[in-house]
Symmetry: none
Subunit: 436 residues, 2 copies
Amino acid sequence: MSAITAGILTIGDELTSGDRVDTNSTWLSEQLLGLGIETAFHLALPDDRKSIADSIAESSRRVQVLLITGGLGPTEDDLTRQALADAMGESLETDDRALALLKARFEKRGMEMPRRNVQQVQRPTSAAMIPNALGTAPGLRAAINDAAIFIMPGVPGEMKHMWAEHVEPALRQLNDGAQRCLTTWIHSVSLAESKVGELLEDLMQRDAQPVVGTLVRDFVVSVRIRAAGSGPDVEDLVVTAARTVRDRLGVYAFGRDDDTLASVIVRQLVARSASLTTAESCTGGLLGSMLTEAPGVSGVYRGGWVTYSNEFKIDLLDVAPETIEQHGAVSGLTADQMAVGALAQSGASFALAITGIAGPEGGSSAKPVGTVFIALAFIDEDGEPSSHVRRFMFPGSRDMIRQRAAITALAMLHFHLANDGILPEMLGEYRPRVEV
Amino acid sequence: MSAITAGILTIGDELTSGDRVDTNSTWLSEQLLGLGIETAFHLALPDDRKSIADSIAESSRRVQVLLITGGLGPTEDDLTRQALADAMGESLETDDRALALLKARFEKRGMEMPRRNVQQVQRPTSAAMIPNALGTAPGLRAAINDAAIFIMPGVPGEMKHMWAEHVEPALRQLNDGAQRCLTTWIHSVSLAESKVGELLEDLMQRDAQPVVGTLVRDFVVSVRIRAAGSGPDVEDLVVTAARTVRDRLGVYAFGRDDDTLASVIVRQLVARSASLTTAESCTGGLLGSMLTEAPGVSGVYRGGWVTYSNEFKIDLLDVAPETIEQHGAVSGLTADQMAVGALAQSGASFALAITGIAGPEGGSSAKPVGTVFIALAFIDEDGEPSSHVRRFMFPGSRDMIRQRAAITALAMLHFHLANDGILPEMLGEYRPRVEV
């Protein structure tokens, strides 16, 4: 997509020991993409002078831009400067101007500069210092072969500031005239990723333009549509592809970019000035919690019930004791009565109810762990309470089953609102359908 | 520390494009360290067959164990299997047993297996499949030169399960006789990480044995106590340090290792055969959802209310309309009445209530975004309903404020149960305390 590709090297024992997640690489790749520069790799290394030096030398043969963060501190295990010098075949020397600035920085705080800090103003002979407005560690800019190397502090705040002030402008020049990169997302729910891949197979060819790929997060399959270039043609390319993706995924495509299932449902309910309530058993409040992640939900959601026990189902939602005795608390009829009860209690126009077996205990051969019933109750055209009830079989851990159940309940409401009350096949649905 | 060193390779455009943070590498390095295996590098690559294949081949010369996650999905851009075959100089063939299992998996859910999924049961001739209990993507085990290669799904839940079931046991054998690394965790809540650092300063010296460090996750500050070696002496070292840490952190230390605030509270309530209910406004069910993450919670939690609106607070929990008129829905008195109402309605022995302003809208100068009131109602020795009410000011985004509120409510109950009904200073608490 661009002439230039970048590599990102993050340094620190805390990364490779598993004590800290590396968020610098992610952030920097996002910034690079905005400049039309693709990232070829993220490499995290411990504080080991030789492996850092070897990787710098090797990377400088593979990419045109090498971004490095970390290992610029004042302690003996901060070795990035030394390793850069090794890779460049140069020695370290003190940068007098940087030294003066650093001393001044300490003086301003009425302190004498600790001896250790001197190492922070050393640089390979041919390298240049990058000022650090927020900390004691200046960055470094150097070149090996045709690769431009930028070293920034590992502290995210200092790194981001140095990026914005010095590195990004330098890269803009370096990458002058290169193409921008445009990205749009289409989000789908209740379709397997493999099914999405099948529906978009031609668009997902590796060398297709725009580049189309999928990403699964919390059981939402998102389709990324990305094109590089400049001018309106790129815009059109992305918009047209996005429209195609949306058409292919049909009702399963619920939103784009920053949309979430909850925020889309809030929009849909606001549009028909409808309201929603919830009744949850195995999800224990997760559904309400997901809904209320969306700002502005208060206009359509007044609240709901967590009826984890049979008493609560019976006392608060008027589920018939016989229903639980004869069909069990995890049954289509119980889910239906929970939803209808919540609808009646709340006066809302829609009620979602979930009851299921999230495990690890409580499964049976007839209703194994992962069995979940979801009911959507509403007032139909004739003003009569009506409902959909679906039975699902969700695989995975307790957490995964609960997540899937809550997402699927939201999907059920979205489908009903977006599809004239007709529900499509849903992922994880169990045949034969339960009759209520 | 060990003869064996490992490399971790994570695959996916979403990583190198900056769409997603790589948490798998971090988690795996932590696990490896537990087995006494150090990680030499984390490498993240895009879905590019050649660079994956090259890196597998190159890594297999540098480390004895190569862990790979991602790229096992059913779509066009899942290329890890193919790349492994390239690196091994072998071709892919379908594993009939795995195919049968996969088909059965879909049948069990009343679905036909999508054509695309077939690629998920292909493997290089000399490689072996690793079963995936939670998903459609089996893992792979192979060898190049002397390097053992394990490929797991990118989905963290599936990866962690496969690690525990299949990869860790295999590595234990592989690394038999090597120095073990013993790690214990002490978890604390409602203390700032800097405060924990202050309390443990002497223990956290860089070259101290055992090595003590802190890690913050979801507003829980966990202290890691780690020592390498073999025999009982290491055990003693870690156990003694853990006891010291626990004493220093006092009531703020709520558990160790796999404990969660919810699981500890369930234990505490079971021990005094007490029960709990919840009443949530701004958290919208998050508190109930956190509680019900703990298996076995059904013995102590019958359910609760999500009273997002004033009507729900008044109609379902008997909050006095005047209270809301005079003090606002976000007030200590409203929180108190929500808790007392939930206690009365449910007959539980404890009730937690949360009301606050999570933002981004709704703040005022008197009650800015981040203002949260939490009430804990209970029956005191004289059989009278009594309560604690605290006002908090939490920084950050809507999500962070909601998370902090739910965690802090759980902490409040834990402190009450663990500290004879006396609450310590709590992080984010707002002075002066509200009087109710």
